[in-house]
Amino acid sequence: MEARANNGVPQKIAEHVLEILVNLSGDQEILENLATDDKFLDVILLHITVRHVMRSGVAPFR
């Protein structure tokens, strides 16, 4: 999923993805899946401290 936040539309997508993840992470199985995914945590932690916009087109959210 593309979530580059440097233009309007993908930014909305990132917002929706995060809302969905917040809600889904209430489920134990999904929580385990997310909380034990090192690469995913890397992305979350980088994004919350500073917004990293990747020009290469690498999608921050899988």
Binding site: A5, Q11, A14, E15, L18, E19, L21, V22, S25, G26, L31, E32, L34, A35, T36, K39, L41, D42, V43, I44, L45, L46, H47, I48, T49, V50, R51, H52, V53, M54, R55, S56, G57, V58, P60
Partner: protein
């Protein structure tokens, strides 16, 4: 993931609050405690160090009320700190002076027990309580020149009630002569959490003596009288029992009180 292309930094992540909520949820998974080992380059404008946990703490402190990122207040990070503080190694981190800013992390968030955001107040109260399970750090919790937690957990449980002058004179300076519009924290769960933190801090004789000296009892008496909530009243009664007990039978009693089954790490 960041090894391709340029990484441009800007403190304006528009979804930072959602990311904070997500992290608060993720912290409910025990293995997230390994966050304490994580490092990443800190954003230049934050003045933090390489440890991710310190960066999050600085974001929470400097980013309150949108002052770092106009789109975010980072309040939900308080829930993450509270859940992380269930783990001994994280508790130890929160009471250990950090080299980069020479501050004890807990001293940076204690001021938010009087913040207007319910989420921020609740999360910080729960963090303080959970860290207070680290009994060896109680002397630092109570020392005026260290964490000095007492005024920060007593102020929110006080309203505008009047005290006898001799009671008032012995209270901590910050708690004397409160303005007539001073209000007690409106959330009874938060009041209960603060009283339970006080109860944890009575596990040493030093803690009990200090609380008697600075007249915690009248404050708890008024809280018990004025907060119509079963949880708050029960917590107040237990604290009063410990504070009013004769020191002779305390050796056995106070320990049992604190290690009682009802005293649990608080989940937010």
């Amino acid at each position: 993931m960041t090894d391709e292309g340029c990484v441009c930094q800007s403190p304006k992540e528009p979804n930072a609050n959602l990311l904070a909520m997500l992290l608060a949820n993720l912290a409910k998974w025990d293995s997230l405690k390994t966050i304490i080992q994580r490092k990443q380059p800190p954003p230049e404008t934050l003045g933090s160090d390489e440890l991710v946990l310190n960066q999050l703490m600085d974001l929470f402190v400097k980013g309150a009320d949108g002052s770092f990122n106009k789109d975010a207040d980072y309040d939900y990070l308080a829930y993450m700190f509270a859940d992380l503080a269930k783990h001994a190694e994280i508790r130890e981190h929160f009471v250990r002076r950090q080299d980069y800013d020479e501050a004890v992390p807990l001293t940076k968030i204690r001021v938010f027990t009087e913040h207007k955001s319910d989420v921020r107040r609740k999360g910080v109260a729960s963090t303080i309580k959970n860290v207070a399970f680290d009994v060896p750090s109680h002397p630092a919790f109570l020392a005026e020149d260290e964490i000095n937690i007492l005024p920060y957990i007593l102020l929110p449980i006080m309203g505008n009630e009047a005290y006898d002058e001799d009671e008032m004179m012995d209270m901590l300076p910050d708690l004397q002569l409160l303005p007539p519009d001073k209000q007690r924290d409106p959330d009874p769960k938060i009041v209960q959490t603060h009283v339970e933190t006080l109860l944890l801090l009575t596990s040493s004789k030093g803690g009990r003596d200090l609380m008697r000296e600075v007249k915690v009892y009248p404050i708890i008496r008024e809280t018990h009288l004025r907060v119509n909530d079963e949880g708050v009243q029960e917590a107040c009664e237990r604290l009063v029992q410990v504070l009013m007990r004769d020191e002779e039978d305390e050796a056995a009693g106070a320990r049992a009180e604190v290690e009682d089954d009802d005293m649990r790490i608080v989940e937010v």
